[in-house]
Amino acid sequence: MRLGELALHEVRHRLRTGLALATGPFVFRIESRLPAVAANLHRLYADFPLSEGPFADFHVRVDRVAGPRRWIRPQAQFWLDATQPFKPLPADQAYAMLEWGMNWCISSHAHHYLMLHAAVLERGGRALILPGDPGAGKSTLTAALMLDGWRLLSDELTLMDRDDGLLYGLARPVSLKNASIEVIRAHAPAAVFGDVTRDTHKGTVSHLKPSAESVDRLNEPARPAWIVFPRWQAQAPARLTPHPKAAAFLHLASHAFNYSLLGALGFKLTADLMDACQCWDFEYGHLPEALQRFRVLAAT
């Protein structure tokens, strides 16, 4: 059964005792009494399967902080099981906090993968990895590529399996910040967004619903093929230029969540990834032109 088959009030009811969502390799059992959390989950995760089994990989909860803070400047807190890994945030950031908390659960525990800090999408069985420094336009490009028919694996976490070297996806909503929210709205007026949250530590944040195809094919791994470092530059023509592999290796290793933790295995997996991929720098100023360039890349 999919989450979207439940009515909103049923989602709220189930969140009281725990609603188990299957997001690729991880089942999250989510608890919350906050209506905004239920509404955002209901809208953004509608196509996701509910997990009916007795087991969840992570038991998370996001709720109001109790005590006087319930009324005066209310706050939300995130729990992984019985622990509270973060300081509370203003209550209107509860849903964003849940998304960040879920990312943190994976990045700080799932050492059975090599975890790179990069977006990843797939077309024709081949995966495109988009590392990128903050502000480089990685999330905007990821959202636009997904809306153009690329299958989303993740906007944030590239998970490489240590046994088969394939990339595994989560297909969770794409986190967009500040100006990129309006850019994507203008580019794709039909795109579905969650609530817009202002004044977070990342600025204004909103989550974009993943495409139905991305969620349907959630459990299909992808073979790494391209690593592209995007850089948005006003008015710049779309241009792919080769990125030296040694530099790409160093960038990925130093931005990985657990490269050094995996020791020799981390080195081997990153080296395998380099062998499997073409590495490019990509400068772009206009989304439609950028998307055309990636269609050509996928056809080669």
């Binding site: 087991f55 969840a56 099981d81 019985a82 933790l261």
Partner: protein, 360 residues
């Protein structure tokens, strides 16, 4: 311990039971073991028995991840030990490894699948200044900056203010005693240093005897009040005791050593609770001999307290009164550490200072 934590204790006592647990049981056991810092230990125990392949497939990746983290920490401890040896070798002083680092370098059973927060070493008190200067030259520096904290450690405690390495970020506790200077209970660290054995391949690092490792671990557990690691520390003790028990003279030697070091009380506590919670095979006569000094009523009160202390490992394990017990244990740890005339001003200072810092 609450009955909801029975599975955790059961698999620690007899790891083979892991293969019989349902997925629904694992759903509770994994977070409990994770919170107690014991998941990697379970992973390694399952590997040793060759039963990992029989466990439910959704459980296995969690064990792989935990095992990977523990393996990484083991490598880091070996590297830190090498660096410590380089930093202190020229001083000619003996440098004893304690707790986790000792288990890893001594290849002792508690090292398997163990997680670490810091490295603990013990040096002779009269060499403390030399050790500190050499460590600072090698990149370790004190993390407690206020004059008050410096004085708290230097005048009253059994260790220097915790140190952190500038580049590697690793934490180091440099002890000169097993107990604070101000504690009522007095022990004899010089005897521990004297009995320690050099570690092959290192110039100044030494390994305390197995008896002394047990006694230090017990003293640390029951005197420091770090109850969030309580069950993990008890698992260390269980593994050390089982390892020692293979020696025919083990139990009398351990009791005798506890008498020499004046650490009979922490040992009695360690033997009682490893046996109660982890079914450590402590002979009845040894347990009776160790517990002799206290009445039955005293033991009943301690049980009420300490069993709740261990129950802080995870919210599921809590018993009614756990919060009160945790508070009593916190006060107890401080009261054991220093007499009231020092403790009260210290707690008042900390409470008011804490408020000022929160405002700032």
């Amino acid at each position: 311990m609450n009955r909801r934590c029975n599975d955790l204790l059961a698999v620690l006592q007899e790891p083979a039971r892991m293969s019989a647990l349902t997925l629904a049981k694992w759903d509770r056991l994994l977070p409990q073991a994770q919170a107690a810092g014991l998941l990697a230990r379970l992973a390694v125990l399952a590997d040793d028995l060759g039963i990992t392949g029989q466990l439910p497939p959704p459980v296995r990746p969690h064990l792989t991840a935990a095992r990977t983290l523990a393996e990484r920490q083991r490598r880091a401890v070996l590297w830190e030990a090498r660096k410590l040896d380089e930093a202190l070798a020229a001083s000619g002083m003996p440098v004893l490894l304690l707790k986790g680092a000792a288990y890893v370098l001594g290849e002792l059973p508690p090292a398997r699948g163990r997680l670490f927060a810091d490295i603990d070493i013990l040096v002779p008190k009269d060499r403390l200044g030399d050790a500190e200067a050499r460590l600072m030259l090698a990149g370790w520096h004190a993390t407690q900056h206020t004059d008050y904290d410096q004085r708290y450690y230097r005048q009253w405690m059994h260790e220097l203010p915790p140190m952190t390495h500038l580049r590697r970020g690793s934490h180091l506790d440099v002890h000169h005693n097993l107990l604070p200077e101000t504690a009522r209970l007095k022990t004899r660290p010089e005897q521990v240093i004297e009995a320690a054995q050099p570690l092959p391949g290192y110039r100044c690092l030494r390994l305390p005897t197995l008896e002394d490792l047990v006694l230090h671990s017990a003293t640390h557990l029951f005197h420091e009040g770090e109850w969030q690691h309580g069950l993990r520390d008890l698992v260390d003790l269980d593994a050390l005791l089982r390892w020692g028990a293979a020696r025919s003279d083990w139990w009398p030697a351990l009791l005798e050593r506890a008498r020499q070091l004046n650490l009979g009380h922490p040992l009695a506590l360690a033997l009682r609770y490893t046996q109660r919670l982890l079914a450590t095979p402590v002979p009845a006569a040894v347990l009776a001999e160790a517990s002799r000094a206290s009445s039955r009523l005293a033991w009943a009160l301690r049980d009420a307290l300490f069993l709740r202390g261990f129950a802080t490992a995870h919210a599921d394990c809590r018993l009614p009164g756990t919060r009160l017990a945790a508070f009593v244990l916190y006060v107890r740890a401080h009261a054991l550490r220093m007499p009231l005339r020092l403790l009260l001003p210290h707690l008042v200072y900390k409470a008011t200072r804490g408020r000022e810092q929160a405002k700032a």
